[in-house]
Amino acid sequence: MTRRYVLGRLVQVVPTVAGILVIGFLLIHLAPGDPVLALAGENGDAAYYSFVRAKFGLDEPLANQLLTYCANVLGGDLGTSYTQGRPVLDIVVERLGATLLLTGTALVVSTAGGLALGLLAASRPRGGRDIAVTTMSLGLYAAPVFWVGQVSILVLALGTGWFPVSGMTTAGSDASGLAHAADVAHHLVLPVLVLAAQEIAAVARLTRAGLIDELGQDHIRTAWAKGAPPRIVLMKHALRRALLPVVTVIGGRVGHLVAGTVVVEAVFAWPGIGRLLVTALQARDTPIVLGVFFVVAFSVVLANLVTDLVYTRLDPRIRYR
């Protein structure tokens, strides 16, 4: 893997993200529904609407607006929110942490959990554990995130009182430092489980399939023949290669997690950018919408890049030119 390759891929990020922004911009502006009406609300008169329109530059032709926007982005300015009057960058960065915490933890949990379940299933295919894991995976995969979220709140939060019902922190809490971290962690459990549910299923199935495949290979047979204990065979010899499909999919899984986070943030009142995006869309607050697109596109593209680079470590046979 050459440095030139890495640089080349990094450069590729720019047109990808730019393309997403332009398409996003056009889609929002071509969608029905005048942003001025959303911004100015009811009860205004014609003069007020003209005033709002001019103030936000919405009376310019679309091409001009697009060019202005692109120029600003290149200069590092993601625009100013129509509804909040603040720089979009500030708003997005404020909320980004919560979403990163949620999706990051969900990614780790789903990967670790999926690997563990996949190992469990593959250790004895079509045995009792395998069937249990497979059944559970299919169930989690098929169940809609919204429903899983609501049921988990009703049963695990309201029903048993083990977990809080919503939010990232306890209302009016003054905790700081470790107490604050513990409070957040307590609130994090249910949203992460719900968000990770589908992904755990996916990873478990992938791992299981890869492992079973791998375990049929010659070098594994050699290891058995040499008397290696099952644990070593599974973990040291088979798992590393079986990890390949799991790692490859991480890029796409980050995308799925971001999509799922919109629903989870709504159900659990988690203050992240998913919820920000939905609110901004409803209010036709274009700068925020595009700002969120930018951040999400950038993250997913970056995740894919990292995945590709990690891939080569796992499988030395793969090289990039």
Partner: protein
């Protein structure tokens, strides 16, 4: 190794490939790993197991709607004691309030957004407040004089009021708030006071005069914290009010002071110890939590995580009532406005609606009691006049079409819409409509009003009218109805507010047929009505205004440009350990909770 090869193709670009979790192929099961393989039988058994699981989940998923009552008893993990409203008044404590959206900023003077106002009105005051009978009571203004028949209003301001940062409040703040902010940026004030005002003069530190070109009757109804909050001149003057950082750290004169605002999550405020109302507020702290999902808000109340909800969904009302842990407050103040009536509009510019008999027939075909029961779960009232009963002096004594299917059919026959058995009616000799045209029209509505739409369609089908429903998101609805005028009928929640000048006039006057949303949707043109509204606006005494509004309502009840269905209310729900809440605005000013 088949699986990795498939994925390698996805490596270069975005990996949108979803791993195959379908029941057909399990790579590796029947592959070279024959050590464990056993072909057909086991796959079959597994497949049926999986099908069974999927079926169970589908059934469960389809059976539930927004609020699944599938699992979970409705136990309250929180409060178990109830005390009722004779609880002794205690000082101190914190109330946690659930709000449905993140306000984004906390300045209520630059916007009419319900989200911002709910979150920020506790920080500010208006000049004059309104009591339950909509009578003006002093707030920042201690007393006032109305002179020149309503062309001049003089307000004598309360002495010793301070902004939260200690600066004294003066008349200059009032002038600044109106001239530079409210009249420019607060759409309702701009359209009403802003259009009529001539000048605002600071007579001295505690006296301010409002001068109008002609007598302006409704001023005192438009000066509370919702319609005209006063903001600090010393912080905002010379800056752009829409981007001033104080919008995120508000400084006001109100009962509560700003503590912190975590965007998307919560707003914290503490008691203002120097508040000009002696002994108020009683609470130490109010925390507003952003919980976007309605179901989650109700669950949070039941779990004890929040103490107050601004609205309770109809289906949950029974359950919450019977638990005995909550008290309720009914009020006509919604997030969108006060005294709202669900109103069906006819597009009078379309020939099909030219005949009043058709409009009247449709009115007779609607069973409005059913709307109240089915859609509102009994919360609210059938509309009895074009102006809401929440404005007592203007609420008319008129006869709106009663539910009478026979009368509806008779009028339709008379108007030339003939019916063959149970079929949809067709035109026969209807002016402006070709013979043989079906009695079919569209009905536009917000997605949140789908229940009304479906009930209306069912009721009108009974009398042979075919209604096509068109749900549209609010910005699209506004554009289609008001900018493009591309609709036959629609339903709108027209909020009358606290005076007919604010919320009713815009529905009926010719001048208000415009592209501005929620103006005169029906395009009703009647010079007599226009003249009456002008007369009412210039008459200051409510006793003199009442007969004018009565006459207006008699005319429109005859001509039926609209059909008034139901008056809506909101039901606030709160922890039974608390008491003393108001309906809105400064709702927590007099509240207290047992600890």
């Amino acid at each position: 190794m088949r699986a990795p090869v498939m994925f390698r193709f996805g490596v270069e670009g975005q990996c949108l490939f979803r791993p195959p979790l379908i029941l057909t192929t399990f790579p590796g099961d029947s592959g070279p790993g024959h050590r464990f393989a056993n072909g057909g039988h086991d796959m079959g058994r597994l497949r049926w197991t999986a099908v069974g699981v999927v079926a169970v989940f589908l059934a469960a998923g389809c059976g539930s709607d927004d609020d699944p009552e599938v699992a979970g008893p409705t136990t309250d993990a929180g409060v178990t004691t109830t005390t009722g409203d004779d609880a002794p008044v205690t000082e101190g404590g914190t109330v946690v309030v659930a709000i449905s959206s993140d306000p984004g900023q906390l300045n209520p003077a630059i916007t009419t957004s319900g989200g911002v106002h709910t979150a920020s009105e506790l920080f500010f005051n208006g000049l004059v407040d309104l009591d339950e009978n909509l009578e003006p009571v002093p707030e920042l203004a201690e007393s006032w004089e109305v002179e020149e028949d309503g062309a001049l209003y003089r307000f004598n301001l309360r002495e010793g009021v301070e902004w939260h940062d200690g600066t004294p409040f003066t008349a200059a703040d009032v002038k600044y708030s109106f001239d530079e902010v409210l009249v420019q940026l607060h759409s309702r004030t701009k359209a009403s006071v802003g259009a009529a005002i001539e000048s605002i003069e600071v007579v001295d530190d505690l006296t301010v005069e409002f001068r109008f070109g002609q007598p302006y009757a409704p001023l005192l109804q438009q000066l509370n914290v919702t319609e005209a909050p006063i903001i600090p001149r010393h912080i905002y003057e010379g800056t752009d009010p829409m981007t001033n950082p104080a919008n995120l750290e508000p400084v006001g004169t109100g009962p509560f002071r700003f503590v912190s605002y975590t965007t998307g999550s919560e707003i914290r405020m503490e008691k203002n110890p120097d508040y000009f109302e002696d002994g108020l507020p009683l609470l130490d702290e109010v925390v507003m939590r952003v919980i976007p999902e309605e179901g989650s808000r109700v669950v949070a109340l039941e779990a004890g995580e929040v103490d107050w909800l601004f609205e309770t969904p109809g289906p949950d009302l029974e359950r919450l009532r019977s638990s005995g842990d909550f008290e309720f407050l009914e009020t006509p103040v919604n997030p969108g406005g006060a005294n709202c009536i669900m109103t069906v509009s006819f597009n009078l510019d379309r020939p099909i609606f030219g005949d009043v008999r058709l409009r009247r027939a449709i009115g007779h075909a609607l069973d409005r009691e059913q709307f109240l029961e089915r859609v509102l779960f009994g919360q609210g009232a059938v509309a009895e006049a074009p102006i809401s009963s929440g404005i007592p002096f203007a609420h008319g004594d008129v006869e709106l079409p009663e539910f009478d299917v026979e009368e509806a059919e008779r009028l339709l026959d008379e108007a030339g819409w003939v019916r063959d058995g149970d079929a949809i009616r067709t035109a026969q000799g209807v002016e402006g409509v070709e013979d043989g045209t079906s009695l079919a029209f569209d009905f536009l509505h917000f997605p949140t009003f789908t229940a009304y739409a479906e009930l209306l369609r069912a009721q009108l089908r009974e009398v042979g009218a075919e209604v096509t429903l068109e749900p549209l998101e609010p910005p699209v609805f506004a554009e289609t109805v008001f900018t493009n005028r591309d609709f036959d009928t629609n339903i709108i929640s027209y909020c009358n507010a606290t005076d007919p000048e604010i919320g009713v006039r815009r529905m009926f006057t010719t001048a208000n047929i415009s592209t501005v949303p929620f103006s005169n949707a029906a395009a009703y043109r009647n010079p007599a009505v226009d003249a009456l509204f002008d007369e009412a606006q210039a008459t200051v005494e409510t006793d003199d205004r009442a007969p004018i509004y009565q006459e207006i309502q008699e005319i429109v009840a005859e001509e039926l440009p609209y059909l008034w269905i139901v008056e809506t209310i909101a039901v606030r729900a709160y922890d039974a350990d608390c008491t003393g809440f108001g309906p809105s605005g400064h709702f927590a000013e007099t509240a207290s909770c047992e600890q």
